[in-house]
């Protein structure tokens, strides 16, 4: 069966919206991570007591050894861009006043990585492998992943 649309003005769409609202709690390791970020302005990784691997963002259990991690260590200041994207529109599809670079950054000797906005470099000059350092958005009442940013190191 096919529907042939000849009078598109008569197309019937039903508009609506889901009323969705949530609060996400960070968990034990995430709580530690964001408190360190807010109070001391640095990134911490959790350290596995068995294999010694360091996890960023920190998690409560080592996914290899399945043991609890209670030790946290500051992450070295300079990481490298592992991948990035250049945004020209905001979430509601309105154009951004200027393009925004979001970069996934990894740190040597640390498992995982973090997303953050990369400023201080022209979008067409961003390259994979670019060394960057943390540039934190401060003064937020509640720290969140949106506070994490980068600038060229």
């Amino acid at each position: 069966m096919r529907e042939y649309l000849t009078q598109t003005a008569q197309l019937r769409q039903v508009p609506s919206e889901w009323g969705v609202y949530y609060r996400y709690t960070y968990g034990v390791a995430g709580e530690r991570f964001f408190r360190e970020l807010r109070d001391h302005g640095h990134l911490v990784a959790s350290v596995c007591p068995k294999c010694g691997r360091r996890f960023l963002p920190p998690s409560l259990y080592c996914e290899d050894c399945f043991v609890e991690m209670t030790e946290y260590q500051p992450v070295p200041g300079v990481g490298t861009v592992q991948t990035f994207t250049v945004l020209h529109e905001s979430l509601d599809e309105s154009p951004l006043p200027e393009p925004l670079v979001v970069a996934f950054v990894q740190f040597e000797g640390v498992h995982g990585g973090l997303l953050g906005t990369l400023r201080g470099v022209r979008p067409d000059q961003v390259r994979i492998g670019l060394p960057v350092k943390l540039a934190l958005r401060t003064g937020q009442p509640t720290p969140s992943a949106a506070d994490i940013g980068w600038v060229p190191a």
């Binding site: 529907e3 019937r12 769409q13 039903v14 919206e17 996400y24 034990v28 509640t142 969140s144």
Partner: protein
Amino acid sequence: MSTMNTELRGTSLREDDLRTGRALATEWIPKTVYRFDAGIAIGQFLAGLKAGRLLGRKCHACGRIVIPPRMFCELCFRRNDEWVELKSTGRVNTFSVSFVNTDASRRQTPQVPAVIDIDGTQPSMGILHVLGEVGDTLEAVLRNVQIGTPVEAVWKPAEQREGAITDILYFRPMGGR
């Protein structure tokens, strides 16, 4: 025999912990706007409502008239055959007396959602709507409405109709029966 008394660890949180910042949290209201394409059957049905008509689809193989309409008979597994205009009258199949809005706020007067079996459907087939003019208290509603009560649609004025199920304001008991 397994032991069921495993102690589950965790951190229980209360509203106050989030409000006072003892536990950190991110709040978010995702923007979840959507539009769905009504399709052939419901598109025609909604266009019918705008014109003040209730439209069903009839299957010539089994004789059923279905409302809300669809273009396919799920019993005969074939495309059904014709549009049928139905009277906007029916009988209460089931109903509920609600003092709670969809956002869980309390109502002073009840809303009475009901499934109305539309006259002329074979076998009887219903649409979900609300009843009106049935009273402002639980007791009054129960006096005025029973399963099987004949009801009729009260339509919006033609110029206000927009092709939505709300073009029927409500169904009310038919007088004098």
